[in-house]
Amino acid sequence: MNATSGPGLIEPIAAAGLVLADIHHAFGRNTVLKGVDLSVAPGEIVCLLGPSGCGKTTLLRLAAGLETLQQGRIALSGRLVSTPAETLPPEDRRVGLMFQDFALFPHLTVLDNVAFGLRGHSAEIKRQTARALLQRVGLAGVANAYPHLLSGGEQQRVALVRALAPQPQVMLLDEPFSGLDARLRDQVRDQTLAILKEQGVATLLVTHDAEEALLMADRIALMEAGQLSQTGPAEELYFRPLSPFVAGFFGELNRLEGKASNGSVETPFGRLPCPGIADGRGVQILIRSEGFNATEKDKGVPTRVERVRFLGPINLVEARLSQGTTFRARLRPGQALNVGQPLWLTLDPRYSFVFPS
């Protein structure tokens, strides 16, 4: 099933890094990818974000050559590697691949795991190279240990170093942090980010965690049911979502209904623009809970505090408008808030979005 490079596969492609074009894929009757276009430039980290089962891992496996492409084209480092007719086998692609379970070889020491992918040298040189790489991530001390003796964070770093050892130009990471416990995760993410940036490798990272994507990504590709909903820098997806799904993926939303008139819609917090929506059409208004600010008496919209939850850096407040609607707002704890007391809120319009319903 793995054809070696035929005439199609040596066709040069202009872009370096990873290019996926018009990818369709189905398992039996179940279509998991419906026309995905995505590229990752050298040195760039793209996070493929989406709920579980949306097809992100399949896309990654296609890029690695572990699945046979059914429709579309894939290029790596300016070279076409997958077409429906031909597939360059994974071992000839020079991609670094990292799994959620790290997939360390249990019968090999840490050093031999890292040296596994090094080619074309004597065993001694391979080991020296591997040792040097381990030294750089502070793991020289466990080089001769077997993987099961390592902590989760150490295993993750070994897997990363092993994938990077053959100096791939493209790194593919499948949920690389979800096997770690929460406290370790932040630290390991920072280290991983630093290492990937230092290597200047084109990285595609699959995750279902929006916060992780915001933290790691130069660009986020948000996927829903086999299609990319929106691709762009984190701020763009956060402040200018193209659909309610995208808006909802990055935080808690308050939802309101309204009607468009003269390119705007009336809300309790003033009129919000909705250009391009015909007069009289129903719209849904989405407001991020972090979009509210508390102000002095009578300077904002009057509400009454219904519930307060102290979450450390912020208070999660449920506030009721006089006409009955309840809003959830994340407010910096400045003043003491008690249930029943009046609260004046203003809305930062950057945190509100209007879509046709």
Binding site: A14, P90, L97, F105, P166
Partner: protein, 574 residues
């Protein structure tokens, strides 16, 4: 972002599903799936041949059997199934619960020693008991001398009876129940047992209301294993003079020479096997208890007061004593006295016969298991899955049934080959395959493939799909990944699989008796022949050798049991 393909190279973009995908979906990829399917079909043939005899008209012999012995077979078999089921349940569950939950002297030793009877074939236990407790045996003689009794004026249990067979098979087969019950009890630990205690249950309450119900599926599975062995036992019931289907099949074939009637008896036996397996399904119910907690804290065994500790000690000692110490002690005592007269050049040759036949069978079974395991791994095509099931069928089918199936199958094949030879060369070649060692090995593989397949499958799960992916992405070709990642990880499992088949093959008696080439003996056959001539002392030598070989996998299993505790970190290459 699509700049790269703004001038798309001229590539044919085919439809998502090409023609080959049908074969892929059914067989899961390569020719491997097809090979596995063909192998499975061939291995299922002998069983199919037997089943076909449901529809063959009944002959004179069958009518004779039905009017004379059939009802005895049915009644004896029913009592055996009931008695051995009950016996293994009591011995296995009681000992498993005690060694898991309580602390008493020798508990650590009992944990593995309770498995020892697995090493002793049923016929070896039967020979030992028959000799020990017969009228002229040491026990009765001792009693008579001590109490001044004489023949006929005292009662003594007769081991050559249905009750004796039930007892002997129970003490020999309870380890199946013990093994599964113990791991089920161990797995419960923190999940349910301590909660039971906090909810106010005493030790018996915990056993009856938490431990036993939760372990029920495992216990039922263990009993089913023991009953499969009971139904296929030939050597023990034959020696004890209890007529069952297996002895009936053997006699119908050898004494009456009627293969068709033998096959018809085999069909009835198969129906009993199917009934027991069906009963297991029903008794196990839909209950597949998954533990909700993934946390594990080792269970701290409760210390017992001296009187109770002694009781627990005895409950564990009794099955080991009756299933291993007593029979093996007797065999050893006999063997010491008879070894010099039994062991000669001919005996050495037979021992070697046994060994190389078992080695070759083990190698073949492991090789076939590898093909089938990889076919199953390559894809989840329905046919590949069915093939694995089909190939594993033999383990539930008694050896004598398989032997009759192989016999008839090969007779047809030989007839066919003979006809071809006659028409081509004008000569009759006689038997080509039937009556050869190849026929014997074929029967062994049919019978024991499931053992190797299960072990190889388990070994292969150590190589996760992501390890495959990682190896490929790191530059290993498919064969490179097999050599550098799979081979070191599964070699231990392959050896275990081979060892299990080797021991089973060496122990095997009924199929060997029916299919062996003329004048070809194995250790098991030699023991059987000695015992049939009432030369029990002589039979002890080959029987003891088989026990010694059988101790190897028992040692492996007991080591695995010690490691299989939840939370126990599995070492490398374990």
């Amino acid at each position: 972002m699509q700049a790269a393909f703004s001038q798309p190279p001229d590539l044919p973009v085919r439809a998502a599903f090409s023609g080959r995908s049908i074969g892929r979906r059914l067989f899961g990829g390569t020719g491997l799936g097809l090979t596995a399917t063909v192998i499975a079909l061939v291995l299922a043939l002998p069983i199919a041949v037997v089943i076909v005899h449901l529809f063959v008209p009944q002959g004179e012999t069958w009518r004779h059997l039905a009017s004379t012995v059939l009802s005895r077979y049915v009644i004896n078999t029913a009592w055996l199934v009931f008695g051995v089921g009950l016996g293994t349940l009591v011995f296995g569950v009681a000992s498993a619960w005690l060694v898991t939950m309580y602390r008493f002297p020798f508990r650590r030793i009992f944990e593995w020693a309770l498995l020892l009877p697995l090493a002793v074939p049923g016929y070896a236990i039967a020979y030992a008991y028959a000799g020990l407790f017969e009228f002229a045996g040491p026990v009765q003689t001792g009693l008579r001398e001590t109490f001044g009794l004489s023949h006929g004026n005292y009662w003594f249990p007769e081991f050559r009876s249905l009750g004796g067979a039930t007892f002997i098979l129970s003490v020999g087969l309870y380890p199946y129940v013990y093994m599964l019950a113990r791991s089920a009890f161990l797995a419960q630990s923190i999940c349910a047992l301590e909660i039971g205690r906090t909810l106010g249950l005493g030790p018996f309450g915990i056993f009856w209301r938490v431990g036993l119900p939760l372990a029920r599926p495992a216990i039922v599975a263990g009993i089913a294993f023991a009953l499969m062995e009971t139904l296929s036992d030939f050597g023990a019931v034959q020696h004890l003079g209890v007529d069952t289907f297996t002895t009936g099949i053997y006699r119908t074939w050898f004494a009456l020479g009627d293969a068709t009637a033998a096959a018809q008896l085999a069909v009835v036996l198969l129906a009993v096997v199917a009934f027991v397996l069906g009963l297991e399904r029903v008794m196990r119910g839909k209950a597949r208890f998954e533990h909700t907690s993934r946390r594990y804290r080792p269970l701290e065994p409760i210390p017992l007061r001296p009187a109770r500790a002694f009781l627990a000690f005895m409950v564990c000692l009794v099955p080991i004593g009756f299933g291993f110490l007593l029979p093996c002690g007797q065999l050893l005592a006999w063997a010491i006295r008879s070894a010099s007269s039994v062991i000669d050049d001919r005996f050495a040759l037979e021992a070697l016969n046994s060994l190389w036949l078992a080695l070759a069978t083990a190698a073949l079974a492991v090789a076939i298991a590898l093909v089938m395991a990889y076919a199953g791994r390559a894809g989840h095509g329905p046919i590949t899955r069915i093939a694995a099931r089909l190939g594993s069928l033999g383990y539930a089918v008694p050896g004598s049934v398989i032997a009759i199936g192989v016999l008839m199958l090969l007779a047809w094949v030989d007839d066919g080959l003979g006809a071809i030879a006659r028409s081509l060369f004008g000569l009759s070649p006689g038997l080509l395959i039937g009556g050869t060692v190849a026929a014997l090995m074929f029967a062994y593989v049919v019978r024991f493939l499931a053992v190797s397949l299960k072990t190889v499958d388990a070994a292969l799960t150590k190589v996760t799909p992501s390890m495959d992916g990682a190896a490929r992405a790191l530059g290993a070709s498919p064969s490179g990944a097999i050599i550098r990642v799979h081979a070191p990880l599964i070699s231990g499992g392959l050896l275990t699989a081979g060892l299990l088949v080797l021991v089973d093959t060496m122990k095997e008696l009924p199929a060997t008796l029916i299919l062996r080439p003329f004048d070809f003996n194995t250790l098991a056959v030699r023991a059987y022949e000695f015992a049939s001539d009432e030369q029990l002392r002589e039979a002890a030598v080959p029987a003891l050798l088989i026990v010694l070989v059988g101790l190897m996998p028992v040692a492996l299993i007991s080591r695995a049991i010690a490691r299989a505790r939840p939370g126990h970190h599995e070492g490398v290459g374990a």
